[in-house]
Structures are given as structure tokens and as C-alpha cells.
């Protein structure tokens, strides 16, 4: 027999082994949960009726209005991504910045940040920049390591810049409002872009041969036509994103409403650019459906795991483990960030957010850590999961579109300084919480949504809709047994 105290550590170990096997994570998670639930029932640690709570948890997830914003933002991004705006923007900005030393790299960083806000997928940004900017950079003598590094890193900025899905997922798991989370991420996003630009700036001083300016014969004339091309490529979609984010940040719209209206806006923009075709919409619909099903099923799997893990007092175990750390808040944050950084080597951010965050959040709250700060901090940290060689996702995409002549080792070495920069960002956020809290001011607090209420403003006039997570049916089922 396993002693009660050992169940939680063994279960956590089991989780890691099950996940590492490589079976789809959603179902491995569920399997770990069920497996240990059976052991727990056998050992008399919980009632056999324990499993009956499962469908209700699934119901709770599906009736969560906040999660509905995930497919909306995915759909909006998918439509905007296929409008060809990345191409226009990259070409235009590249030509504009080309004459400066490091100019192409600055253009990539800027476009990465803008695309991050617009499309919200790392893959889209990295692929677009890998296809368009990488060949130009290599042709004009950029060091391949710098070129690939800056592209992969700029693609991952997507993760931190609102309206990123990571922030929605984190807000959901931390029980905080998405609006506050978005506001909190503004500062770190700006710092990250500045850090990246600074790095290129220093390179252009100390290793100018790595980031040459375009030779005079390759420089286009900077005229109205070029400017118009850039503006037409960028302005409408940026306006749309600012409208969507602005209404969410000011508390005028819920993230779900914002995402839905943004999607319609994206469709209208595509129509204006004469790019609205049946296949485009269909592709966006199907890819959104699949990504959404994948994400929500990881959440369902994690919920099964979490239910059992709490049943064997895993939450208490984690709390004991973490609250005994020396150094109070900072000690806890450093330990947690090292842990997440390590996990990010082999887990995706969805898995980290759904499995780990619910365990960490209560401890953080007890230590008096602002959960918005905590969430944005972890969001910044989880970006590194895209950049870790050799499994980093961004590197993998880049390898897919980079010319065959480029060595994989160049891509891997190229990523390292940028992972370093991201870690510097994490350190800055830990030691200067104001980077996050400065932008989280009062108006957004309208949305202090504690959990999945449907529409905070509907409650003013109408009865507020509550998610009946402990519905009558559940109670009756329990009583019948």
C-alpha cells in the first residue's frame, strides 16, 4: 500500500512519465487522473461517487464564456494572417529601414510585434518572416545566426502582446479579468521590444559585419508609393486591433464580445482588400475549430488530473513545498520561474498553464503576490518554450521555411542570446513589479470578473447569468447514490 503522504509526489511523477511517452497530452492527462482516482478509491481515500463530478467539470468548462474568446481571437488572427498583410508590411518596412545598419533586423522586430498583436500565432509570424525577410537578410550578408535568431525571437513576442491566447488562458486559470491581464502585459511587451532593438543596436556597433546596411544599389527610393504601401498594409488592421483591445481595456466590451466583433471586422477588412474568398474563410473556420478543440481538451484533461490531484492532497503538498522556500516573495518567484523555465523545455504553454498554474496560484496569493503580475511574469517566461533549442517551436517552424543551405546548428546557436534577453525581461519584471502594475489602472477593474460570469454588464439591467457548476442535477445525482 502506498502511504497517503506519498500519493501526491508519486502522482506528479506519474504525470511527467505519462506525458513524456508522447501520447496526445489531453488524454494522457485524463488517464493519469483516472488511474490515480481508481487507486484512491481502492485505498478508501475518496468515495466511488468521486468520478461523477467529471461530466460536471466538463460542463463547467464548456459554459465558460471567457473561453469562447479563444476561438474568436484565433479566427480573427487566421483571417488577418491570410490577408497578405505580413508580406506587405515586411517588404515595406524592410525597404524603409534597409539603409540603416541593422535596419532589416529592426524591421523584423517591429513587424513581429505588430503581427503578434494582429494574428496572435507564433507560427504565422515566424513563417512569414522566415519566407520574406530571411532570404533578403542572408543575401545582403547578415550573419545567419543573427538573422534566424531575430526572426524566431520576434515571432515569439506574439505570446506576450495582447490579445494573446496565453493571457486569456492565464486570466482564466488565475480567476482574474482578461482586461487587467492585457493591460499588465503592455509594459513588458514594450520592454521586450526595446531589449531586442537594443541588442541589435549594440551588435551594429560592436559587430557591424553581422548586421550590414543594404548596399546603395539595393535601396529603393523612399517615396510616396512606398509609404502608401506600408500604411495601407498596416493601418487598417492596427486600427481594428486597437479598437478591439481598447474596448476591452476600457471595459466597454467583454473579451468575448471584443473577439467576436474583431472577427467580423477582420472579415470586412479582408473584403475591402478583395481577399475575402470562400476558401480563406473555410480554412480559418476549420483551423480555428481544431485548435480550439485541442486547447479545450487539454483543459478537460488537466481538470481530470487536477480533481484527483487535489483529492490526494497534492495542492497541500505543493503549498508545503513552495511556502518553505527562503526569500519570501522573491525566493518563491525565482524558484517558480526556474521551474517553469525548465518545464518549458518539453511542455507547451497550454499544458503549463492548465496543469501548473492552478497549483501555484493559491500559494502566490498567500504570499501576497499580485496575481496579474504573477500571470504576466509567467507569460513572459513561457515565451522561452518557443525558443529553447532544439525543441523550440519557433525554431522548428523557421527550420521548415529556411533555405536548405542554412545549418540547423546556426538556428540553434542563433536562438541563445534571445533566450537570454527573454530571461532578462523575466528578471526585470520580478524586480520591478511596476512594469506590470503601472498600466493596470482603475477603468479596467470594472471587469473584476471572478470566474466565468457571462456578461458583467448585462447584470446591470438583467439578471446575471451564472454558470450552474453545482447544478440541481448534480446534487440530486449525489443524493440518489
Amino acid at each position: 500500500m502506498i502511504s497517503h503522504d506519498l500519493m501526491a509526489p508519486i502522482m506528479f511523477g506519474g504525470l511527467i512519465i505519462f506525458l513524456l511517452l508522447g501520447y496526445p497530452a489531453a488524454f494522457s492527462l485524463g488517464a493519469v487522473g483516472l488511474f490515480f482516482a481508481f487507486i484512491g478509491i481502492e485505498m478508501g481515500m475518496f468515495q466511488p461517487t468521486f468520478l461523477q463530478a467529471l461530466p460536471d467539470r466538463v460542463f463547467g468548462i464548456l459554459s465558460n464564456d471567457l473561453l469562447l474568446s479563444i476561438p474568436f481571437f484565433t479566427f480573427m488572427g487566421a483571417i488577418l494572417e491570410k490577408c497578405g498583410l505580413a508580406e506587405d508590411m515586411l517588404e515595406g518596412l524592410g525597404q524603409l529601414f534597409g539603409p540603416v545598419r541593422g535596419g532589416l533586423a529592426y524591421a523584423v522586430i517591429l513587424v513581429g510585434a505588430i503581427l503578434g498583436a494582429i494574428t496572435g500565432t507564433v507560427a504565422a509570424s515566424v513563417i512569414a518572416m522566415g519566407l520574406i525577410s530571411l532570404p533578403v537578410m542572408l543575401r545582403y550578408g547578415y550573419n545567419p545566426r543573427v538573422a534566424t535568431g531575430v526572426i524566431a525571437a520576434s515571432g515569439t513576442i506574439t505570446q506576450l502582446i495582447p490579445p494573446s491566447l496565453v493571457l486569456i488562458v492565464l486570466a482564466d486559470q488565475l480567476g482574474k479579468s482578461v482586461g487587467d491581464m492585457y493591460a499588465g502585459a503592455i509594459g513588458p511587451s514594450i520592454i521586450q521590444v526595446s531589449l531586442f532593438c537594443l541588442f541589435i543596436f549594440f551588435l551594429s556597433i560592436f559587430r557591424p559585419q553581422d548586421v550590414p546596411a543594404l548596399p546603395p544599389e539595393a535601396r529603393p527610393k523612399i517615396d510616396w508609393k512606398l509609404l502608401k504601401k506600408i500604411l495601407w498594409g498596416i493601418v487598417p488592421s492596427i486600427a481594428l486591433i486597437f479598437l478591439v483591445l481598447g474596448t476591452i481595456l476600457m471595459g466597454l466590451a467583454t473579451p468575448t464580445e471584443g473577439g467576436a466583433m474583431g472577427s467580423v471586422g477582420a472579415l470586412i477588412l479582408a473584403a475591402m482588400n478583395k481577399r475575402l474568398q470562400k476558401t480563406l474563410v473555410w480554412e480559418a473556420m476549420t483551423s480555428t475549430m481544431r485548435i480550439n478543440a485541442m486547447v479545450i481538451f487539454i483543459l478537460i484533461g488537466s481538470t481530470v488530473f487536477g480533481l484527483t490531484f487535489r483529492g490526494v492532497d497534492g495542492d497541500l503538498w505543493i503549498e508545503e513545498l513552495l511556502s518553505g522556500l527562503p526569500g519570501g516573495q522573491v525566493g518563491f518567484l525565482i524558484a517558480v520561474n526556474l521551474f517553469v523555465f525548465f518545464l518549458a523545455f518539453f511542455l507547451d504553454y497550454f499544458e503549463i498553464a492548465f496543469i501548473i498554474i492552478p497549483l501555484l496560484a493559491p500559494v502566490a496569493e498567500k504570499l501576497g503576490i499580485d496575481l496579474i503580475w504573477f500571470g504576466v511574469l509567467l507569460g513572459a517566461n513561457m515565451q522561452t518554450s518557443f525558443m529553447h533549442p532544439p525543441f523550440g517551436f519557433a525554431l522548428f517552424y523557421l527550420r521548415g521555411v529556411a533555405p536548405k543551405s542554412l545549418k540547423s546548428s546556426d538556428i540553434y546557436y542563433g536562438a541563445l542570446p534571445w533566450v537570454g534577453l527573454q530571461l532578462i525581461l523575466v528578471a526585470i519584471i520580478i524586480f520591478i513589479p511596476e512594469t506590470v502594475t503601472y498600466f493596470v489602472d482603475k477603468p479596467a477593474a470594472v471587469f473584476d470578473a471572478s470566474g466565468p460570469s457571462v456578461d458583467p454588464l448585462a447584470g446591470v439591467e438583467q439578471n446575471e447569468i451564472k454558470v450552474d457548476s453545482s447544478s440541481d442535477i448534480e446534487r440530486q445525482l449525489r443524493e440518489n447514490k
Binding site: L21, G22, A25, L34, P71, D468
Partner: protein, 180 residues
Amino acid sequence: MPKQLLFFSSFIDRLNDRFGVFASWLVLIAVLVSTANALIRYGFNVSSNGWLEAQWYLFAGMVMFGAATTFRLNEHVRVDVLYALYPNKFRLWLDFWGGIVFFLPVTIIIGYYSWEFFITSVIQNETSSNPGGLIRWPVRGAITLGFFLLTLQGLSEIIKRYAAIIGVIKIDPKYERPLQ
């Protein structure tokens, strides 16, 4: 290996792809419904609980009806640190046993208990506790149906993996992580 099994498997694949098409349409419908809800709330300062609930009914539909075809397309994310190193044969075996030991127990057990919920909901004619809210059994039924479809898809994948292992069909167990 009996031919009927492979027929059964391809029947399930086609069935779940149909549901996948349906789920994809729900994405667009949800976008339009939510936009209309939002605009009507701004314009006329009224909101209907029924239509607000319809939003997450559609969400439930796109998740539950889309999960099976997503599984067929191998787009449920894996931790591929080790998986990437496995030889193809081993990947097939992993998916075969994973289907039996991990996948089916999860879908069958949750599906079974959700069936109880569904039936109780139908018998009691359960409705939302919000004024003007919707009846609940369709969404509870969607959960049950979704897990049933997933169970079928799990069987189909197990059959196909086995057929590939003994060399009746060819499967390329190449895995690419879904776009993020």
C-alpha cells in the same frame, strides 16, 4: 485481419469528418451570434439571456463535435521530446496501446457519467436558472455525443494502427505540432 474492421474504421472516419465540418460552421455562427448580441446590447441596451447562452452552446458544440476529427488528424498536441526520436514502428505501437490504455478509458468513463447527467436532464426537463434561459439537455447531450464520437474515433485509430503494424495498410506516423 477481417476486412470489416477496416470498413468500420473508415466509416467512423467519414462520420466524424462530417461532424467536424458541422463544428467548423459553428465557429462562424458563434462569431455572428456574439457580434449581434454585442451590437444589440450597445444599440438598444437590452440583452437576451437565451441568446447569450446560445453563444456557449455553440462553443460546446464546436469543441465536442470537433474533437474526434481533430484526433483523427493527429492534431491533439503531444509532448514530442521523446516521440520525435521513436522509430515509426514504435510510434504505431505507442498509439495502439495508448489508445487502449489511455484514450478509451478516459472517453468511456466520462462519456458514461455524462450520459447519466443527460438522461436526468431530459427527464426533469432541466432549464437554465436565468430568466429567458435555454433548456439544458441539448448541451448535456452534446457532451455525451461528443465523448461517444471520440470513443468511436479511438477505436478507429486503434484498428488502423494495428493494421499498419501488421502491414495491411500504411500510415505515416509523422507528427507535426499544431499551429500556435
